[in-house]
Amino acid sequence: MTAGVAGLSALDLHEVALALGDDCLVLSHRLAEWTTHAPELEEEVALANLALDLLGQARSLLSLAGEAEGRGRDEDQLAYWRDDRDFRNLLLVEQPNGDFAVTMTRQLLFSAYQELLYDRISSGTEPRLAAIAAKGVMEARYHLEHARLWVQRLGGGTEESHSRMRRALDLLWPYTKELFEPTEAWGRAADLGALPPLASIEGPWRKTIQSQLESSHLEIPEFSAWQSGGRRGSHSEHLGHLLAEMQHLHRSHPNATW
């Protein structure tokens, strides 16, 4: 695989597609864990659909990462045969589902980020990334809308739902700084216009979250002991458990189909 038209090196394209794809794959798996545990039937269907959209995006992004790498690894090999230190997802998406408030808070924080990111990538200079993002942005928009409705309902709901939302925000906020920390490959891709500089979407993201929280009788937590490292492969123990479940069948029965 040669360099993309934007002048982006194949290795950098591999790195950034992997990071974006791993976010989708890991969050998709987390959402799928709700299947048969959701609070109501409609939400069960909703969470499975969100997971399916993310899985589709993950497939396109990991296929692109594999192609760019040029070592013959396809989406399945990248999904099933890497260990946790080779995953490049944000720590936010690997956090356990917790209660429904935690899951919906995570959805709000991530979907708002993904929507901004995809919107900018879709008009970027790397045509294959732009195509995936142009498709994904419509889905991210719908996911964000879904999360907004729930955050609104839970934040402004009962005393119990409100206090759970506050707890969820306190729990997840420390992982949000990492959303805006570029890796070296990201920095180079941003210089070439393939990806937006992360600093440029931090303001709009914060504005979206802040206004949503305000209208839901919630607020951004004051202090956070920031956690990051996912983009460099330094993950929480939670990812290891998630991967064990996701990869077990495929590794026990290589090339199995069903």
């Binding site: 409609e42 499975a48 399916l52 498709k135 419509m138 809308e145």
Partner: protein, 159 residues
Amino acid sequence: MPPGEELARRLAAEVPDPELPFLTLEDLGILRRVEVGPEGTVRVVLTPTYSGCPAVGQMAEDVRRTLMDAGFPAVQVDTELAPAWSTDRLGPRARAKLEAMDIAPPPPAAPAPITLTLKCPHCGSLRTRQLSRFGSTACKSLWRCQDCSEPFEHFKALR
């Protein structure tokens, strides 16, 4: 145009969607191109509705089988994302067919996003309410009519 191209195109266009079989691939606006090479090899390009649409594999297989049965020696089906599909690609024929199946079609594209109420496909009432933003397939949501109390599906807007 190479011989057989018009036939191949027509056959591929009429393949039904596996999840909404009363709609064809052409109705849905997901058939992008049909090309016939010098040896009679057909290449069909589809675009997915949703990134994770599980029906794409089945569609590709249905197209392949239809064209092979019609005597084309080899068929290749590829998918292409750009330009991204949206529900604005549904033609008038698709919208009429959805209505005939009691599925409310997506509202037409508006210059600014506005919340529209959906018309009940059973009794025509505009007093309807969304029950769930998601439905039995990725492309649908679930609604209920407050006048006739019947639930109905809606092919939700994606754009």
